[in-house]
């Protein structure tokens, strides 16, 4: 059982900034995210797109924002459970909560903060017969551990960044990489497209376009796929794995069953005070919450995180008084023993 002070569901920008604000109040955080990496939408959907409304950054790429938030909260040593979706919440006799993921990982904390954005990102599954049967038997919708594919035959389908990037990566790991896409054009970063072209030319990536995977074959596990080029008869390709990468779509998912008050696909919170939900001890911040006048902006999530931490402090340290401290004055003491502080001025006479 993982134990922490504040359990954050969602490792997007709001969740990551919560780690920092909680750290200033000496509270430790652990984050759960359905995606295999931190950053939420910023790293999954648009890492290379600029954001213009982060205070003090006239322009910052979403991927860079994630990196900076991770750097900012690093000294408060957040724990991560990635690639797992928070499934159930159980209130304990001592008032704390146990949150269990779809993989069975258990987390215990006195305060739970839902910073889940639009929900957990679920892969969009191509409409193929029996595809569910082959899940974890050769079919995977996201790559958590590339080593699984070492010296294996892999077929990737899709035409976006993840299809390109994973084809490039796996061309060094797998014994055979086949990339199948409905059109000849791919969309992604220019260097990724160029690299795939280069790997195709050198025979390291086998490319079939414009084509679609139309059937899955195999007795107990995936053995082959059937590919159809438009206007041609389908043919088979033997493979150990089929990885369709058609993007992700967010679903509020199991959190919707936690007994929280939901309005317009978002969790209602008390915005007059601390962004607490109808369940005391459970907060919702960032894009996942709603209240009169709510704006789904990253900067609003930061503000909500900061106020929420004050309420969490009172739950974790009942009756303890707190005075706001400025980081410029007090510096930052990390849980890893580091200290950041403003350089001291010297007092020295000038003769």
């Amino acid at each position: 059982m993982i134990e922490t002070d504040i359990l954050i569901i969602g490792a997007g920008p709001t969740g990551l900034f919560t780690v920092f604000e909680a750290g200033l109040l000496k509270m430790k955080c652990h984050l759960i995210d359905a995606l295999p990496q931190a950053g939420g939408q910023c790293s999954e959907i648009y890492p290379k797109k600029p954001i213009y409304d982060i205070p003090a950054y006239p322009e910052i790429l979403a991927g860079d924002l994630t990196e900076k938030l991770l750097e900012q909260c690093k000294q408060f040593e957040p724990g991560f459970t990635l690639g797992e979706r928070a499934e159930t919440i159980d209130k304990q006799a001592d008032g704390s909560f146990v949150v269990t993921t779809n993989k069975g990982t258990q987390h215990k904390a006195p305060v739970v903060v839902i910073a889940g954005g639009l929900g957990s990102f679920e892969p969009r599954k191509p409409k193929l017969e029996n595809i569910e049967f082959y899940e974890d038997k050769g079919v995977a919708y996201m790559i958590k551990d590339p080593e699984v594919y070492r010296n294996k035959k892999v077929v990737i389908s899709g035409g976006g960044d993840s299809a390109l990037d994973w084809s490039i990566f796996l061309s060094e790991v797998a014994s055979e990489v086949t990339l199948i896409h409905r059109r000849n054009e791919f969309r992604g970063a220019l260097d990724s497209v160029d690299k795939v072209q280069e790997l195709k030319n050198s025979g390291k990536i086998h490319m079939i376009t414009p084509a679609e995977v139309t059937a899955l074959v195999g007795e107990n596990q995936l053995e082959a796929i059937e590919v159809t080029k438009s206007g041609e008869a389908p043919f088979r390709i033997e493979t150990d794995s089929f990885i369709p990468l058609f993007g992700l779509s967010p679903k509020l998912g199991p959190i919707g069953e936690w007994g929280l008050e939901i309005e317009k696909n978002a969790i209602k919170v008390n915005n007059a005070l601390d962004y607490q939900t109808n369940i005391p001890g459970v907060f919702a911040i960032g894009d996942v919450n709603t209240y009169p006048g709510k704006l789904k902006l990253i900067l609003c999530g930061f503000h909500e995180a900061t106020l929420m931490c004050q309420a969490a402090y009172q739950i974790i340290n009942p009756g303890k008084r707190y005075v706001l401290k400025y980081t410029t004055v007090s510096g930052i003491d990390g849980f890893d023993g580091t200290r950041k502080e403003a350089p001291k001025a010297v007092v020295k006479s000038i003769n």
Partner: protein, 110 residues
């Protein structure tokens, strides 16, 4: 101030809505759908309007001259499900005075 245009939108439950879309607010079709709450929040415009998801896919039912499809939109639609020849991404279609009388139908959610 310029006049609103009248647009007919069939939602995902098959219900027809006749709405007035303002032409002076730099809105696109996806944003108009959200403005009138014709699809649940979180089920449309997920990427915010970057042609990076297909949650605002719609079928254009009339012959109005719309903004030509750009590469990004075409690429996204090539990866989307339930695509028809008249599919467009609502977020890529800016509301203009020429759209008076336009009829669209929202594509099903994935």
């Amino acid at each position: 101030m310029e006049q609103d245009v009248q647009i007919k939108i069939t939602d995902r439950d098959g219900k027809l809505h006749e709405i007035a879309a303002p032409v002076d607010m730099a809105l696109n079709l996806m944003e108009v759908v959200r403005l009138y709450e014709l699809a649940p929040e979180g089920s449309i415009g997920i990427c915010g309007g970057m042609a990076m998801c297909a949650s605002c896919q719609c079928y254009v039912l009339t012959e109005h001259p719309l903004r030509e499809m750009q590469d990004e939109e075409e690429a996204m639609l090539s990866e989307a499900f339930n695509v028809k020849p008249n599919s467009r991404l609502g977020c890529q279609i800016q509301i203009t005075p020429e759209m008076e009388g336009l009829e669209i139908e929202l594509a099903p959610e994935d």
